[in-house]
């Protein structure tokens, strides 16, 4: 193990270097670009054996890595925001064809208005596209999650692509200490990729992407659901293997001071760090505050979340995205987790940080205050909004 000072983007690129994929498709989009810039330098310096395709759009980035992955190669790309939105057609093709493509996504607001800063509207818009979705609180998790993603995606009982998220700028462009595996350990952890069927390595010719009508489509989609369920089956065996190498734990949902908590906030990515600071402060004041950080968003760990939250008085759910005219994405999952409990805790949904708006400790303290007083409702509440 070695400690390096890396931005979140640098950490993803470092993991990509160690994974040394056969093919990577690169296309720029703020704030993901530094991942591909760093990786392209590795390519042109001969530090990796990857063949890099400098494509002309995100749609072609995903199309090319689908071609490469179906050919039998380990293939990756990376994107953000409207780039992911442009890819949406082929993002669904990749999971439909059960191709283990891994893709860092640096979260950024969807347009319009155009905004280059962080929120989760882009990956939330893809939450039902059949990809595994891992969210990272910081550069260290962005690094570790890349290895989890590779092993999860390529597991023969799973074979689904994975998105690895980190917050735009907040994580991607901030330098943090990151403990990295040595190259050999990383290499042996992910092993080699040997697909059962592929265009170039299979003995007999294979047809990918055939037309399935009302007679077979339903069956193929049902298989995708089984593959997602298998992520729960095999996740901890893979996570424990990584824990032995790093010493860090990788729960589906990470509890922080939740055992005796009366109020717990639920959040994704970098907001968790700020909330932990507030939890520490409130704990010093004797207040039983806690945080539950969701790491694996798809498939969503309903039972684990419900176990963590069932004993508390009230829960605040922090969404950095919105569903116009409906409960926000994370809020709706939390409500689903708690549904059916005898005394389910009270739940309040908060929307914060859209388009990069800062999440201040004062906002978090206000939320905790209301939740300790049991003030919750079905009304959406906004943190950091003027007016």
């Amino acid at each position: 193990m070695q400690k390096k000072a890396l931005t979140g983007a640098g950490a993803s690129a470092e993991a990509m270097r160690q994974i040394n994929p056969d093919v990577v498709a690169a296309y720029p989009i703020t704030p993901q670009t530094p991942i591909m810039e760093t990786f392209a330098k590795f390519v042109n310096d001969g530090k990796v054996s990857t063949e890099l395709i400098r494509v002309e759009s995100e749609h072609s980035a995903m199309s090319a890595v689908i071609g490469a992955s179906s050919a039998g190669a380990r293939a990756m790309t990376a994107t953000s925001s409207v780039g992911l939105a442009l890819m949406f057609e082929v993002v669904n093709a990749a999971s439909g064809m059960r191709l283990p493509i891994t893709m860092p996504v640096v979260n950024r607001a969807l347009s319009s208005p155009i905004n280059i800063h962080c929120d989760h509207s882009d990956t939330m818009a893809c939450r039902d596209a059949g990809w595994i979705q891992l969210y990272s609180e910081n550069a260290q998790e962005a690094y570790d999650n890349m290895f989890l993603a590779q092993k999860l995606s390529e597991h023969p009982e799973i074979l689904l692509p994975t998105m690895i998220m980190q917050d735009g700028f907040i994580t991607s462009h901030s330098v943090e200490p990151v403990e990295v595996l040595d190259d050999e350990t990383a290499k042996s952890f992910i092993g080699s990729y040997n697909p059962e069927h592929s265009l170039l390595l299979s003995k007999k010719p294979v047809t990918f992407g055939a037309l399935q009508l009302f007679d077979y489509f339903f069956e193929t989609k049902r298989q995708q659901e089984l593959a997602m369920d298998n992520v729960w089956r095999f996740y901890y065996s893979i996570a424990d293997e990584l824990t032995q190498l790093t010493g860090r734990q990788y729960p589906l949902a990470e509890p922080y001071h939740t055992e005796d908590a009366e109020v717990i906030l639920v959040a994704l990515n970098s907001a968790a760090s700020t909330i932990k600071a507030v939890v520490n402060k409130l704990r010093k004041q004797g207040k039983k505050a806690g945080l539950l950080k969701i790491r694996l968003f798809r498939p969503f760990p309903y039972s684990e979340v419900s176990q963590h939250l069932q004993k508390v008085k009230s829960v605040g759910v922090f969404d950095r995205s919105y569903s116009f005219g409906a409960n926000s994405p994370l809020l709706s999952e939390i409500i689903s987790s708690l549904f059916g409990l005898e005394q389910a805790p009270k739940v309040q949904g908060y929307i914060f940080g859209l388009g990069g708006r800062d999440l201040l400790e004062a906002d978090i303290e206000k939320a905790f205050e209301e939740l300790f007083q049991g003030k919750t409702s079905f009304e959406k509440k906004y943190l950091g909004l003027r007016g």
């Binding site: 064809m97 069927h197 339903f218 069956e219 298989q223």
Partner: protein
């Protein structure tokens, strides 16, 4: 009987080749090519232009044209159209 969802390959892949041979398109025909061997000069034009590639030939360096494989022939008539010797004539298909 169609396979259930546990039995078909993942991702809608078709992994055993030649599967379309099961689909005998011959029953599409309403017209049928009638081959007149004496006129045929084995120029291979009908073989080249058959959209179903269902006109077999003998092996060897100078293949000879054999009878159309009516399991697949759709009766389009291109073979008759391109034949330089009128060795193929389209006839109404008598449905037995």
């Amino acid at each position: 009987m169609k396979k259930n969802w546990m039995e078909i390959p993942k991702g809608g892949l078709i992994i055993d080749s030649n599967t379309s041979l099961e689909n005998k398109t011959g029953d599409w025909r309403s017209m049928k090519p009638e081959f007149i061997p004496e006129k045929c000069i084995h120029c291979m034009k009908c073989v080249f232009y058959c959209p179903e590639s269902c006109i077999p030939t003998t092996a060897g360096d100078h293949p000879k044209r054999l009878e159309t494989n009516f399991e697949y022939c759709k009766g389009c008539g291109i073979c008759a159209n391109v034949c330089p010797k009128n060795a193929i004539v389209m006839k109404e298909e008598e449905k037995d």
